[in-house]
Amino acid sequence: MENITPQLYTLLVFMVIGSIVAIETRNLLSAVISVSAVGFALSVAFLFLGAPDIAITQLVVEILVLIILIRGTILLDNTAVELHRDTLAVIVTLIFFGLILGFGAMIFGSRGFPAFGEPLMSVSRVYVMRGLPETHAANIVTSVILDYRAYDTMGEATVLFGSILGALALLRKDGKVAKKEVVPA
C-alpha cells in the first residue's frame, strides 16, 4: 500500500477549515454548504482509506441531506443568525476538552500510539479470515453488518423508523391545524 498520509492530512485540514467556517459564518445557507463540503471531503477520505462501502453511503446521504437542508434554509427570508455566546458553556466545554486530552495522554502516553492501520485487530482478523468461507459473501463489510452483526443493523433500522415516525407525528399535527385555519378563510 502506497503512502497516503499527505492526501489524508490535506483532506483533514480542509475538513477542519470547513467546520470552522460552518460554525462561524453568519449566513445559514453558507453554513449548510460548508457542512456539505466537509462531508464530501470525508467520503473522499474513506475512498483513500480503502472503504468504498462507507464512501458510497456517505456520498449518497450527503447529497440527500444537502437537498433537504437547502430546502429548509431557503424558506427563511432572514438567513442571518445571531450567535449567542454563553461564557459558562465555553468554560465547561474547555474543561471537558482538557479532561479528555489529559486522560488520552495518560492512557496512550505510557504505551505510545500503534502505527496507522497496524497491527490488524484480533477481532477484525477473524472476520477477514472466516468471512468468505462462512457467509459466502464476497463483500466483507456486508457479511459483517448483515450476518455477524445483523442484530446491530436491526437496531439501526429501528432508530431510523422511530425517528421518522416522531418527525412525521410532529409535522403532521401542525399541518392539520394549518388546514383547519385555511378552510374558513
Binding site: A157, L168, L171
Partner: protein, 151 residues
C-alpha cells in the same frame, strides 16, 4: 406550470429510470460489490426526490403514493424482523439458516440478500417520506417551527 423548466423536466424523465436501476444494482449486488441496502435505498429515494423537485409533488406521488410509501416502509422493517425470526428455526436470532450457495454468485450467502432488499425498501421509502413531509407541511408548520426556534 408546476415544477421547474421544460429542460429540467425532460432530463429528469430521462434520468430517473437509470437512477432507479443503478440503485437496484447497488442493493442486489450488496454482498458481492461495495454498497448494500442502505446506500441503494438512498439512491432510489434520490430518484423520487428528483422527480418531486423537477415536476412537483403531484407527479412524484402518482409514481409512489404516500400510502404505498408508508406501507412499504413498515413492510421493510417487518420483513427484516421476520427474517431474523427465521433464524430460530436453526437455533438463535439472526442465524443464517438459508443455503449459502456458490461463492461470488448473485444467489448466494443465505439471508444477506433478502435483508439487503428489506433494508432498501425501508430506508428508501422512509427518506422519501421525510422529504415529502417537509415539502407538504413547509408552508406554515416548518417555517413557523424554525422561526419559533430562532426568535
Amino acid at each position: 406550470m408546476k415544477g421547474l423548466t421544460l429542460i429540467v423536466k425532460t432530463i429528469t424523465d430521462f434520468v430517473v429510470a437509470f437512477i432507479v436501476v443503478f440503485g437496484a444494482y447497488i442493493v442486489l449486488y450488496g454482498h458481492l460489490t461495495p454498497g448494500g441496502g442502505f446506500a441503494g435505498g438512498v439512491i432510489i429515494a434520490c430518484a423520487f426526490i428528483l422527480l418531486m423537485l423537477g415536476h412537483g409533488k403531484e407527479v412524484a406521488f402518482s409514481r409512489l403514493g404516500e400510502r404505498l410509501a408508508h406501507v412499504l416502509d413498515s413492510a421493510g422493517a417487518l420483513a427484516f424482523l421476520i427474517i431474523g425470526w427465521i433464524g430460530f428455526w436453526g437455533g438463535y436470532f439472526f442465524l443464517n439458516v438459508f443455503g449459502r450457495g456458490e461463492q461470488f454468485r448473485l444467489i448466494s450467502s443465505g439471508m444477506i440478500l433478502p435483508i439487503n432488499i428489506a433494508i432498501a425498501f425501508k430506508v428508501g421509502t422512509s427518506l422519501f417520506i421525510v422529504f415529502a413531509a417537509l415539502a407538504i407541511f413547509r408552508r406554515r408548520s416548518f417555517r413557523s417551527m424554525i422561526e419559533d426556534e430562532l426568535s
